[in-house]
Structures are given as structure tokens and as C-alpha cells.
């Protein structure tokens, strides 16, 4: 087995995204602030392109042409007059986020795809990001010189730890005022595009409700930037619900969304499992019916979420999920292994042996199998003694 440290890829991401923000600061702080609009725009584009090349060189793009084409098709449906101008790509990051940059490129995290339920929800997110672009927020932010939300609309997550001092600037400068206006403007543009493209306008509100719930459950200090906390997440959900009230429906395209994104969603889920982030696994999978979307692993991974979180009552919840997994997918080995280990921890020897033997029979060459055999031997010895 070989696994890299959890913080390496995320640190890379933070550094790369910090670079994008740094490019914005460079443009803002440079002596040439009095240059013409065209020169200013060219400088912004130059710096942003450099940082995007860096993102690519770090291997942070998901890099699946089929998925990128699907995301692009949704964007082109939302902004047909910008067909091909706003380029969308999947970004390898497990957080619920998306961001746009001044070059007209939009990056959608695999973690966002994991948490969205249908194409209409994806369109709500991308419509918002496209709104930042079409409303020229990056340039307007720079020339106003009051905010650092310039080149990217959505990339402060983690910057406070990467660039000490900058975090304060982001959070406590006049950015908040500008961003509130910009976010509202992007929300409205996005919503208009969502409905004009024939998507169900009711799809937008649940996205904000879901992220608000996750932010609360995971006790995140700040929400993912696409869902910036100004205006408040739930206020935005209510605004979207009110806007959609009385609408005549539209397309959700859940099947098409799942078919196009499932591989990336599963990868994001596996990455969260590898990070052993229990709260995040629970946030993603605990809603009714979501675990079943990731059959046969979903129920087992939700059980793992409870095991990793390990707060009061979580052991029982983990046991329940492992058992449900075994009942529904009796040939899925990891659930037996996990339940067997849990029984062993509780001193339930016979049950542990039965589960672990089942695991070994189903997965004789798995990485965990030697440990399962070790535990079986120990428990049998203890029973004999």
C-alpha cells in the first residue's frame, strides 16, 4: 500500500489558488494602476493565464474530456451567446465548490459534482459563476480597488493558512461590501439563465440549503466561496425559493447528470474516505437515498463516516450501516471486514470471527486480509483459553 499524505494535494491546491489571488494583488498593487482599461485587462489576463497554467501543471484538473464536454454543454445552454467562450473544466477537489477566473474559464470541483443531484442544480451553480463573468466582476473589482475578489470569484478556501495576512484582507476589507453586491448580482443573473435555459427554477434553493447544512454539520469556519456567506446562505436559499415560487417547472435531468458525472463523483467520495474525514462523508451520504446512488459502497462508506467521526452514538450508527450494506449487497466484502473489526473492538468474538472469515473468503487478496486473518487467529486463541 502506498498513500500520500492528505495535506499534499490540498496544499498544492491552496498554493495554486493563492497564486491566482496573488496575481490579482499584483495587478492591484503595481505602480501601473493608472494604466488604460485595455492595458489593465491585458495584465489581468496575462497573470491569470500564468496561474492557470500552473494549476494545470500541478495535475489538479480532473482531465476527463467526456466530463468536461458535458459541463461545457450545460454552460453553453445557460450562456448560448458565449458558446465556447466560457470554458468549463472539472477540478480535482473534494470540497463543495466552483470558481470562475478572469479568462472566462470556470472550474467545477469534483466535490461539487458529488453533492449535486441533477443537471438543474449544476446549472444553478454554473449559472452563478457565469454571472460573475458576464457581469464583469473581476475587472470591476480591480478598478474599484476595494476588494481582492478580482481575478477569481471563488478561490479563498484555505488561503488564510497559505498566505498569512491575506486572509484578514479577504475577510475584513471592503471586499465584503462588494462581494455582497456581486454575489446578489451573480445570483440574479444565474437564476435568469437557469429559467431561460429551461431548467427547473426550484433547483437552485436546495443547493444553498444543502451547503448551509454541511457548513453547520462540519463546523466549517467559512463556506465554500461559491456559496459565500454574504448574503447568508439560507437567506439566498429563501430568495431563490421565492423567485421560483409559482414557476411552471422545467427540466431536472437527473439521469443525464449522474451518467456523465458518476465516475468523478465516486473518485471524490473515495478521496474523502482516504482522508478519513467522517463528518464530510456523513454530510455527503447521510441524506435519504444518497448512499444508494453509490452502490454497493455507499452504505459501507457512510458507516465508515460514523466510524471516523467517532462521537457518541456513532459506533451504533456505523454498525447499522455496515449491516444494511451486507443485507443489500451480500457479496460486498469491505462491509464484512469493517463490521468484523467493530465486533472485535466490542469484544463480540463469535460475531467478529464470522464477519472476518466472510471477508477473507470474499477478498482473499485484499490489503486488509492479512490483518483479518491475524484478528481471527487472536480471537480464536482467546476463545480457546
Amino acid at each position: 500500500m502506498a498513500c500520500t499524505a492528505r495535506d499534499s494535494p490540498s496544499a498544492q491546491r491552496r498554493r495554486a489558488l493563492a497564486g491566482l489571488l496573488g496575481a490579482a494583488l499584483f495587478v492591484w498593487n503595481s505602480p501601473g494602476r493608472a494604466i488604460s482599461e485595455q492595458q489593465q485587462r491585458e495584465r489581468i489576463l496575462f497573470e491569470t493565464r500564468e496561474q492557470e497554467a500552473h494549476l494545470t501543471s500541478l495535475g489538479l484538473l480532473y482531465g476527463n474530456a467526456g466530463l468536461d464536454a458535458y459541463l461545457q454543454s450545460v454552460m453553453d445552454r445557460l450562456y448560448p451567446e458565449r458558446h465556447g467562450e466560457y470554458r468549463v473544466r472539472a477540478f480535482r477537489d473534494t470540497e463543495f465548490n466552483a470558481f470562475a477566473v478572469a479568462t472566462g474559464n470556470i472550474y467545477v470541483n469534483t466535490g461539487a459534482l458529488l453533492r449535486l443531484r441533477n443537471e438543474a442544480e449544476l446549472a444553478a451553480v454554473m449559472g452563478h459563476e457565469g454571472g460573475h463573468l458576464v457581469d464583469d466582476h473581476m475587472y470591476r473589482g480591480i478598478v474599484a480597488a476595494k476588494s481582492v475578489a478580482r481575478i477569481g470569484s471563488a478561490f479563498t478556501l484555505g488561503l488564510t493558512t497559505t498566505l498569512p495576512g491575506l486572509g484578514s484582507l479577504v475577510n475584513y476589507s471592503t471586499m465584503a461590501g462588494f462581494s455582497r453586491d456581486f454575489e446578489r448580482e451573480a445570483d440574479h443573473t444565474g437564476f435568469e439563465r437557469l429559467t431561460a435555459a429551461g431548467y427547473d427554477p426550484k433547483a437552485a434553493a436546495p443547493v444553498f440549503e444543502r451547503i448551509a447544512h454541511e457548513v453547520s454539520e462540519r463546523r466549517l469556519k467559512q463556506p465554500p466561496y461559491v456559496f459565500a456567506d454574504h448574503p447568508k446562505l439560507l437567506d439566498r436559499a429563501h430568495t431563490f425559493a421565492a423567485l421560483a415560487d409559482g414557476s411552471h417547472g422545467g427540466e431536472l435531468r437527473a439521469d443525464e447528470f449522474i451518467a456523465a458525472t458518476q465516475e468523478a463523483r465516486i473518485m471524490a467520495l473515495e478521496e474523502i474516505h482516504e482522508h478519513k474525514d467522517g463528518a464530510e462523508l456523513i454530510a455527503v451520504l447521510a441524506d435519504e437515498g444518497v448512499a444508494a446512488q453509490f452502490a454497493p459502497a455507499g452504505e459501507y462508506l457512510l458507516g465508515e463516516g460514523y466510524r471516523f467521526r467517532a462521537t457518541d452514538g456513532d459506533e451504533a450508527l456505523a454498525l447499522e450501516r455496515y449491516t444494511r450494506s451486507i443485507e443489500r449487497y451480500p457479496d460486498f466484502a469491505p462491509a464484512y471486514g469493517a463490521r468484523g473489526r467493530l465486533h472485535a473492538r466490542r469484544g463480540e468474538r463469535d460475531r467478529a470471527i464470522a464477519d472476518l472469515e466472510h471477508f477473507v473468503a470474499l477478498a482473499p487478496t485484499a490489503r486488509e486480509t492479512p490483518f483479518a486473518r491475524q484478528t481471527i487467529d487472536r480471537l480464536k486463541r482467546e476463545i480457546a483459553e
Binding site: A5, F371, T375
Partner: protein
């Protein structure tokens, strides 16, 4: 030998000399007075049992070190906010140990798990983890490797660890560590 290890050796060896380190008698099991375990250490090493744990080194603790300790279940994985029990399986224990190495202000840099397999320690089922990581920049930033063998006891988690720079030192003494770990027993050293 590069200049950096030589410089480290020069810095560390006087430290060993001052800290109550004693030469190993390879025929005599040793262990800290306050912990109930003893082990036969490799010939030519120095060891220290002045705390609740045992430390041993041949060339200086930055260059090769064996450490053995029993830590209470509540404290063993404090940074990772995990608590083990006497019933924790070696597989779970290894997972908690890795989480601990990733957590807190002293988290290891660029940690890679090279292998994780069942083992025995003091006659008990254990895990054996072979890791690679980078030493902090303040300690030279060298590429390091370690092997830790761990097991859950009634009194706590017992971890026996050997760590050394990958270049030159790790391979040179790993067999000695495995031999020493194989001699570990859960009894106080003879007086």
C-alpha cells in the same frame, strides 16, 4: 558521508554523552524502571532509560534511533483525537497511529506509507508500519524512514520505532531493530 550528517553527528553526540546514556550490554535486557518491558539492544549502541520510555542510538538520535514506549490509551493518539482500548485491533491501531502522525503542529511532512502488515510484538498481535517522510527543515529536511511495530496492551499502546535517514543509515540498522523488537518482553528488566 555528506557534510550535513557529520555536522548533525557533531551536534548530537555530545548531547548523548551528557544525557545519561549508557553503552549497551547485548546480553542484558534493559528497560525503563517505571515501565514493565525489557529488550535486548544491539551491540555498540547507547541507550537511555531515564524517562518512562527507552531510547537507543548508534550514531546520534538524528541519525538512527530506536524508541520504545507504552502510552496510556487516552494519550496515545491525542492529536488525532482518537482513543484506543485494549481490544483495538492492530489494523485499527495502525490507522490511528497514521492519523496521529498527520495531526497536530508536529505532523510529519510528505508522509508515505510504504507497507502496513500484521506482526507480533512481545508475543501479541501487532502492526508493522514502514513509513517514509521528510524531517522538518529545522532539522535539516532529510528524507527519513521509520518502522513502527505497535500493539494494544491493557495498560496502553506499546510502540517500538526505529527511524533513520533513508540515505546510508536506515538500511544499515533495520535488521538490528527487528532483532531487538523480537526480544521485547512484557517484564521488567532484571535488577
Amino acid at each position: 558521508m555528506t557534510r550535513r550528517p557529520i555536522a548533525m553527528l557533531a551536534l548530537l553526540l555530545p548531547g548523548l554523552a551528557c544525557a545519561g546514556w549508557k553503552p549497551v550490554d547485548p546480553s542484558k535486557p534493559v528497560g525503563p524502571g517505571k515501565a514493565d518491558f525489557s529488550v535486548l539492544l544491539p551491540d555498540g549502541w547507547l541507550y537511555d532509560t531515564s524517562s518512562n520510555s527507552l531510547s537507543a542510538s548508534h550514531d546520534g538520535i538524528g541519525l538512527n534511533q530506536i524508541s520504545i514506549a507504552i502510552t496510556a490509551h487516552k494519550k496515545a493518539f491525542k492529536e488525532a483525537k482518537k482513543e484506543s482500548t485494549p481490544k483495538t485491533t492492530p489494523e485499527d491501531l495502525a490507522e490511528d497511529y497514521i492519523a496521529e502522525l498527520h495531526a497536530g503542529p508536529n505532523a510529519l511532512n510528505d508522509l508515505v506509507v510504504l507497507s502496513n502488515e500484521p506482526a507480533e510484538l512481545a508475543g501479541k498481535p501487532a502492526f508493522r508500519l514502514h513509513l517514509k517522510y521528510r524531517a522538518p527543515q529545522s532539522a535539516g529536511g532529510a528524507q527519513m524512514e521509520s518502522v513502527t511495530i505497535g500493539t494494544a496492551l491493557e495498560t496502553g499502546v506499546m510502540l517500538a520505532t526505529y527511524q533513520a535517514p533513508s540515505i546510508h543509515y536506515f538500511d544499515r540498522w533495520i535488521a538490528n531493530f527487528d532483532t531487538a523488537a523480537g526480544s521485547l518482553s512484557l517484564s521488567a528488566p532484571p535488577k
